[in-house]
């Protein structure tokens, strides 16, 4: 907890914080509260809302679509976390190591998918993972393996789409970790080398503990991104076949835009919001309990 700081007059402080507070409260917080308010109603967006208290919430936990969404989103976030944290960190480690040539080039290239719109990314990957004429199946048939359903397969679709989202954003995480790694003074590594530590030990005992804060922020970004994720699933499978690839966002989308059950849809949003806030609080607690230097 930061106790230091410069003290300035209240009137000046107001100038600092007002723009953000006004914009944010007006365009994000107030609409969110309005939306959440409607989760206690049944409303189709046009006629008068009908107050039904917690009925929406009770019905939701019996709803197949919702339950599948929960199962799917857990898988999705898990895969996303593994991929982005582990691989992003490894990428950052490797590109920070002086012994690897071409690291600047690699850093730039890995960031490029991030610049390209979701629609294009999805178009490309659909060609690869679709069961009919997809590149993966073409390769499989060529080698003699049976064709798979890939993105139409029950749990596999979550793994695949999560991988694609992770791949899209990994540049960001690699750079985040890279910046954090480069702020570690070189003397620490030198001292460790003198004591006979090899590279793996150096990273295990120096890099990882010092990057704890960065990991925490990265995990929070990752979980929030995974839970909110919509376009990838929407473009690539639309939730199907049937409802096996529904995620929470797809579920909410369907409620609002397909079944015009606005109150019900915002109930899903409330649950999403609460889960994320709880997760963040939990992570923050975990982060604080360990004392590093």
């Amino acid at each position: 907890m930061q106790k230091d700081g410069i003290v300035i007059k209240k009137k000046l402080l107001v100038i600092f914080i007002c723009p953000v507070l006004v914009l944010y409260t007006l365009f994000i917080i107030i609409p969110t509260i309005q939306s959440l308010y409607y989760s206690f109603f049944e409303w189709n967006g046009i006629s008068t809302p009908e107050f039904i208290a917690f009925d929406n919430y009770i019905n939701m936990f019996k709803d197949d679509y919702f339950l599948i969404s929960i199962r799917n989103i857990i898988i999705y976030i898990f895969v996303l976390l593994c991929y982005q944290m582990v691989f992003g960190f490894l990428l950052a480690l490797i590109t920070s190591d002086k012994r690897f040539i071409g690291k600047v080039f690699i850093k730039k290239v890995i960031f490029i998918p991030f610049l390209i719109a979701v629609t294009i990314i999805c178009q490309l990957w659909i060609r690869i993972v679709q069961p009919v004429n997809g590149v993966l199946n073409i390769i499989f048939e060529f080698v003699g393996l049976p064709a798979q359903k890939w993105i139409m397969q029950d749990v596999l679709s979550m793994f695949l789409i999560s991988f694609i989202q992770g791949w899209h954003h990994i540049g960001f995480y690699a750079i985040l970790f890279s910046a954090a790694i480069s702020s570690i003074p070189a003397q620490l590594y030198n001292a460790a080398k003198l004591e006979g530590a090899n590279t793996m030990q150096q990273h295990l005992y120096i890099t990882i503990p010092l990057l704890k804060d960065t990991f925490l922020i990265a995990i929070i970004f990752c979980i929030a991104g995974g839970m909110k994720s919509f376009e990838y699933v929407y473009i690539m499978t639309g939730g199907g076949p049937g409802n096996i690839s529904y995620t929470l966002s797809m579920f909410i989308y369907r409620c609002i835009f397909k079944t015009y059950n606005y109150g019900y849809g915002t109930t899903g949003s409330v649950i999403m919001l609460i889960t994320l806030i709880l997760a963040t609080i939990l992570l923050n607690r975990l982060g604080r309990s360990r004392i590093t230097y």
Binding site: Q2, G5, I6, L13, I17, A117, T119, I217, F230
Partner: protein, 286 residues
């Protein structure tokens, strides 16, 4: 120490990692190349003969349709995107810089509370806010102006940008300001003349991330914009693609390439700055 054995295993690991990296780099680079390639091919080549390789014949004429079409003016959409994006950038960067500086470096009673308040926005998915926001924009009479996008976009980027800036600003030592304060400088002078040099890498990062979001943003723009003339590039592009009945895939690709160019261009200019600023030790001893 088994130095000879260690060196050999080290070398092998080294080579394996390098190969994996190169493969990954190719996979990361390929989508843009693929898009570029098919924007220069015709339908037979795209779907049947040569889907993934270099175009057999460079059909630059694919680019003529997007640039010259009637009814839907791609240059107009481009312009709209530019205006909205730049305005969003300016508003987001300045307001978040001020706010994050206040929560990270200034001492006041509720700084933690406000910082957490602003962070919550990270968890709010766009379409929770969508419909009430639409109604609010109409009530504020902002509809059919550029501001119906600019203000929501800025508001959406606030949480993320403030978190990044806050984390960065926290790490700088207070000596930087103290020496200036002893000389009697006011807070705005301190911020914009002295601290700004050290904050630049974080600002550049926020600029790039905000730019990518705003330029590629689709869902909000789709629902908010009613007049064709006001459409931003992603939405206008889609409307344009849906209107031209006999569109070739290659021409679609050409319009997508045109839409992607600014992001890549901006990144190629700024990436050096990001890299060098992020990896340098920072002039903290200076």
């Amino acid at each position: 120490m088994n130095t000879i054995k260690d060196k050999k295993t080290n070398n092998i690991i080294f080579i394996i990692i390098n190969i994996v990296l190169i493969i990954y780099a190719i996979i990361s680079l390929y989508p843009f190349l693929w898009m570029l390639f098919y924007s220069l091919k015709d339908n037979t080549e795209i779907f049947i003969t040569n889907p993934f390789g270099f175009p057999q014949k460079l059909r630059f004429e694919n680019y003529l349709l997007p640039l010259s079409s009637h009814g839907y003016s791609l240059p107009r959409f481009f312009m709209n995107s530019v205006i909205v994006t730049i305005a969003t950038l300016v508003i987001t960067v300045i307001s978040c810089l001020l706010f994050s500086y206040a929560t990270a470096r200034l001492k006041w009673k509720f700084s933690e509370v406000f910082k957490t308040y602003v962070s919550v926005g990270l968890f709010i998915p766009i379409f929770v806010v969508l419909i009430p926001l639409l109604i609010m924009v109409k009530n504020l009479k902002l509809n059919n102006t550029y501001f119906e996008l600019i203000f929501p976009y800025s508001a959406i980027r606030i949480s993320f940008s403030c978190i990044i800036l806050h984390g960065f600003l926290r790490r700088l030592p207070f000596e930087l300001e103290e020496s200036a304060m002893i000389d009697g400088a006011g807070i705005f002078t301190i911020l914009f003349k002295i601290m700004i040099e050290y904050i630049k890498p974080a600002i550049v990062t926020v600029i790039i991330l905000t730019f990518i979001f705003t330029w590629n943003e689709f869902s909000l723009a789709l629902i908010f914009i009613s007049k064709h003339a006001n459409m931003t590039l992603p939405v206008g592009l889609l409307a344009f693609l849906e209107s031209e009945m006999e569109m070739q895939m290659g021409e679609i690709g050409a319009s997508l390439v045109i839409a992607s160019i600014p992001s890549i261009f901006l990144y190629s200019i700024l990436s050096k700055k990001i890299e060098s600023s992020l990896t340098a030790q920072g002039g903290i001893k200076g």
